[in-house]
Each structure stands twice: as structure tokens, then as C-alpha cells.
């Protein structure tokens, strides 16, 4: 089993996502939620770092947080799975640890 990393801060505001991507092991998963969903958007100055990390890490983003911020699903980086709260729960049960990057 692998780790689930959860990131709830905007990559423009904190270095949480950067640090998470630097330190997450190959095969782990990253869930972007709350302001963290900004890290899932295409065409930002952080998009390339996420796209590059996708070869080693699977990415998820919480749909309700994307919708709340008026960021539509069409602008999500290809390959990131948009999930709901039930999916969030599933992820926590499928991984043996959950690490929060505050």
C-alpha cells in the first residue's frame, strides 16, 4: 500500500504543493482540495510541475471545490481524476497513510 498526500493550499500562496511533489514517493497519490485545486489547473505557472510529476504519482482533485471557485472541469490538467467526497473517503481507505501538507 502507498501513501495519500492531501494538499489544501494554493501553490501561488504556499510551497505545500512544491514540497509534496518533491518528497512524495513514486506510486503514491496526491489529492488537491480546498484552495489546493488551483494546483490542478491548466496553463498556470505551476501546471508543468504537476504534469511532470504525473508519471510517478496519481493525481486527484475534489470536484466540489473546483466548482465553488468557478474553475471549470475543462481547465483541469489532463490525467487528473476529479472526484467527489465519497471518492475522497475511498482514497483514504485505499492508502495506508494520509499525509496532510498544510
Amino acid at each position: 500500500m502507498s501513501a495519500l498526500h492531501i494538499v489544501n493550499k494554493s501553490p501561488f500562496e504556499r510551497n505545500s504543493l512544491d514540497s509534496c511533489l518533491r518528497l512524495a514517493a513514486k506510486g503514491s497519490a496526491v489529492l488537491l482540495f480546498e484552495d489546493g485545486v488551483i494546483g490542478a489547473m491548466k496553463n498556470t505557472k505551476h501546471s508543468d510541475a504537476v504534469a511532470k510529476a504525473m508519471s510517478d504519482i496519481s493525481f486527484y482533485a475534489l470536484g466540489p471545490d473546483i466548482k465553488a471557485r468557478g474553475l471549470n472541469d475543462g481547465n483541469i490538467i489532463d490525467g487528473i481524476n476529479v472526484i467527489d467526497y465519497d471518492g475522497f473517503v475511498d482514497l483514504t481507505t485505499e492508502h495506508n497513510t494520509v499525509q496532510s501538507w498544510l
Partner: protein, 139 residues
């Protein structure tokens, strides 16, 4: 003042946070509406993640929070007609003015014609705008 003619100062509200993840955006809006009631010269600035506050089509049912984005379109009724969005902040987020709400006010000196109240400005111009203020409040 005694005769009711108060001093008018230039107030700038600087918004730099995305909505919903923190309480700053909502609190700023509340304070702006209070200040508007005192007939002050108000400017709103949206920079950094603050630009996300003005996105179109926000739907908050899924996160169980109040969608306050509709309030921005009411700012014109409070005579708030200077809303500045930093161009560089939009660009580094892959956003354009089309992703934002169209904010308007009705000009009472011009037969109530509807005019734009949202202006996309570059950093250099924004520096000047901020520098002209009497008070800058940060959110």
C-alpha cells in the same frame, strides 16, 4: 464634521486570497459594504489569488458554503466603480478577463448609462493607484 459634510478619503481594499479556502474574501466584502455606506472614495484591488474571487459561475452547493460571488455585481449600486484586477496575476494563472464576471455601475451623471467598473491594469499602473491612497486595507 458638524455640518454633516464628512471628509472623504481614498480607501483601497487589497484582495489577495482565493475565496472559500479562507475567510478573507468574504470578510473583505463585508467591510467594503460598510465603508460604502460612509460615502468614501473606494477602490478595490484584486491581485495574486484574489483574482479567483471574481470568477464567473461559482457554485458552492457542493461545499456547503454561502456563494457570495453574486454580491460583487451589486457593488455598483453602492457607488463602487473602481475595481482593479492585476493583469500579471491573471496571466500567471492562465486566466483572462472573460473568465471574470462583468461588473458594471450606472452613471448618475450620464443618464444612468451602464458602464464598466472592472479594469484590468498592469503592475506599473496598479503601483500608482495604490500609491495615491490614503488608507490601504489588506485581505
Amino acid at each position: 464634521m458638524e455640518d454633516g459634510e464628512g471628509i472623504i478619503k481614498k480607501f483601497c481594499y487589497m484582495n489577495r486570497k482565493a475565496p472559500y479556502g479562507t475567510i478573507y474574501a468574504l470578510e473583505s466584502l463585508e467591510v467594503v459594504l460598510i465603508a460604502a455606506a460612509f460615502d468614501q472614495d473606494i477602490s478595490l484591488v484584486f491581485a495574486d489569488d484574489g483574482v479567483y474571487q471574481l470568477t464567473k459561475n461559482q457554485e458552492t452547493d457542493g461545499i456547503g458554503m454561502k456563494n457570495f460571488s453574486k454580491t460583487y455585481s451589486a457593488l455598483g449600486d453602492y457607488d463602487i466603480k473602481k475595481i482593479y484586477v492585476e493583469k500579471e496575476s491573471l496571466e500567471e494563472r492562465g486566466l483572462s478577463v472573460d473568465d471574470l464576471q462583468a461588473l458594471k455601475y450606472e452613471d448618475e451623471d450620464d443618464d444612468w448609462v451602464e458602464k464598466d467598473s472592472l479594469f484590468v491594469v498592469g503592475s506599473e499602473e496598479l503601483t500608482k493607484i495604490i500609491n495615491e491612497q490614503d488608507v490601504v486595507l489588506s485581505f
